[in-house]
């Protein structure tokens, strides 16, 4: 029975691979494009190599060009901490930090990030050694169901970094001055992360505490 220790996820992945293999006999001819560019019949997928540094580890992938960074992280590297919410850049659940900046990993292709440094929630801290922002979210109960939390925390860490670097926001009063670490600034800067449970006030408390500011 030890051989059958498969998770539900493994079964789903295996099933998907089988289906793909049946539908696409070969990817060898993938680089050939049909004349005129567009056809309605199934076109074999095109794959491309990409090298990323994810949470400090270098990873080489050979992915379908259509693979978003989000899917590369979750489905290829099995870093499932980063969540897929809307998959269209509206909810922020997929937020990760790439080359020092937070982005929506659902709205970018893995192949566009050759050589990039990616930090996901798994790279910020571990259950044994939480990042201060993770610890503050726990302390302040900055979540309910938890699905948006990895994205919220990656954004929150970046918000403090952006304020430190003097990047202005929509609510910055005087553009010629450095922005303040205020509740209004943090709320505005967190607007790209939606929390359906409505844990916003506790999320704000957590970020204010880590930032050392006054709410």
């Amino acid at each position: 029975m030890d051989d059958l220790k498969l998770t539900r996820r493994d079964l789903l992945i295996a099933g998907a691979l089988t289906a793909t293999a049946a539908a696409v006999p070969s990817v060898a001819g993938a680089q050939a494009q049909p004349a005129g560019g567009r056809v309605d019949s199934p076109t074999p997928p095109v794959t491309s190599k990409v090298a990323l540094t994810v949470n400090g580890q270098s990873r080489q992938l050979d992915v379908d060009t259509r693979t978003t960074l989000l899917d590369a992280l979750r489905e290829h590297l099995h870093l499932t901490g980063t969540k897929k919410g809307c998959d269209q850049g509206q909810c922020g659940a997929c937020t990760v930090i790439v080359d020092g900046r937070r982005i929506n990993s659902c709205l970018t292709l893995a192949v566009m990030h050759n050589g990039a440094q990616v930090t996901t929630i798994e790279g910020l801290g571990t259950p044994d050694k939480l990042h201060p922002m993770q610890a503050a979210f726990v302390k302040h109960d900055g979540y309910q169901c938890g699905y948006c939390t990895p994205g919220q925390i990656c954004s929150a860490v970046s918000v403090l970094d952006e304020i430190r670097k003097g990047i202005p926001s929509h609510v910055t009063g005087d553009l010629t001055q450095a922005p303040l670490l205020s509740a209004a600034e943090i709320r505005e800067r967190m607007s790209g992360n939606i929390c359906r449970c409505g844990a916003y006030s506790n999320i704000l408390d957590a970020i204010v505490e880590v930032g050392g500011g006054k709410a």
Partner: protein, 317 residues
């Protein structure tokens, strides 16, 4: 998403030539709009040319005392640039009023100009849309039109341009610099860059196939107080119902452009002479001939009140 091939271009000329090799190929920079549309198969390019490596990511002074903004300068970096914050505040404000920080970190100057409408009928592939499928009709006309255009629209399309940045660029008289596949370059005034829908709403700008934006330039600063006031359904991270970009001089003269009312940033220079007389006098000319529906008629008084608010703020200290 449809299958596509992918390559990284190293020079602007190489990128322009590469995109001409297969019909329907597209440049990709930030990708925040294009990939969204590719997932929905509204955009189905067979080939993507990644232009992120072209080095067009600098902001530098021009010999005329203005700024040249590389096509790939991210919205975050443009909004945060000290020269932009000091001399072109309307641009910084407009950028910061758009999208979320995650998107501004990716979105580029050129891509922002080229983003496509957020008309829900354009996004819904079950609906008729002359912009998405030329000749199929317009489901927005007679549909739910609260967010749609009130000036410059046509019987073929009533979509609005969603950009905040472009409205500021319009009020600043920016110029768009491009390179064509044959290597030729040209400069397009922002006023002539976006097209009204007419009978061809799928043609949204004057770029030729394969023509690549390399930079956007700003003339030397004009001084005055800069405003970008955006009215939307929530306080952050939403598209404009209407927006007002304005530069007001100490004598009350100035410039004004609108977002959220037309297929392109909306500016009527002749109307600006009325600025010292107040919002209504300006709006009577700026939105002359407006065609509204029951659902979007509110945009006219909303523009006027927003402009009055801007003019009142301009008079303070």
């Amino acid at each position: 998403m449809k299958v596509f091939t992918y390559e990284r271009a190293r020079t602007p000329a190489e990128a322009a030539a590469a995109v001409m090799r297969a019909e329907g190929s597209r440049f990709i920079a930030g990708g925040t709009n294009l990939l969204d549309l590719m997932k929905l198969e509204i955009e189905t390019p067979p080939h993507l040319v990644d232009v992120n490596g072209l080095g067009l990511d600098r902001i530098e002074g021009t010999s005329e005392g203005g700024l040249r903004i590389g096509a790939l300068v991210r919205n975050t970096d443009l909004a945060a640039d000290a020269r932009v914050r000091r001399d072109y505040g309307v641009l910084s404000r407009a950028l910061l009023a758009g999208a979320s920080q995650q998107l501004r970190n990716k979105a580029t100057t050129a891509g922002n100009l080229l983003q496509r409408t957020r008309c829900p009928y354009f996004y819904d592939t079950n609906m008729a849309c002359n912009k998405r499928a030329p000749g199929s009709g317009c489901a927005a006309i007679g549909g739910y039109t609260r967010g749609h255009a009130i000036v410059g629209a046509s019987d073929a399309c009533i979509a609005t341009h969603p950009s905040d940045m472009a409205v500021a660029m319009r009020v600043l008289d920016a110029n768009v610099e491009t390179v064509k596949p044959d290597g030729g370059t040209r400069v397009i005034p922002i006023a002539e860059f976006h097209r009204l829908p007419g009978n061809t709403p799928h043609i949204e700008h004057v770029l030729a196939p394969g023509e690549l934006i390399t930079a956007v330039t700003l003339p030397k600063p004009v001084g005055g107080k800069h405003f970008y006031r955006k009215v939307r359904d929530r306080a952050s991270y939403a598209f404009a119902l209407i927006s007002v970009a304005a530069i007001v001089q100490p004598d009350g003269k100035g410039r004004v452009a609108l977002g959220g009312v037309a297929h392109k940033p909306w500016r009527v220079e002749a109307a600006e002479a009325q600025l010292p007389r107040g919002g209504k006098a300006v709006v009577d000319q700026l939105l002359a001939g407006a065609k509204t529906t029951e659902e979007n008629a509110f945009k006219i008084p909303l523009v006027q009140r927003t402009l009055d608010g801007v003019l009142a703020d301009a008079k303070k200290g």
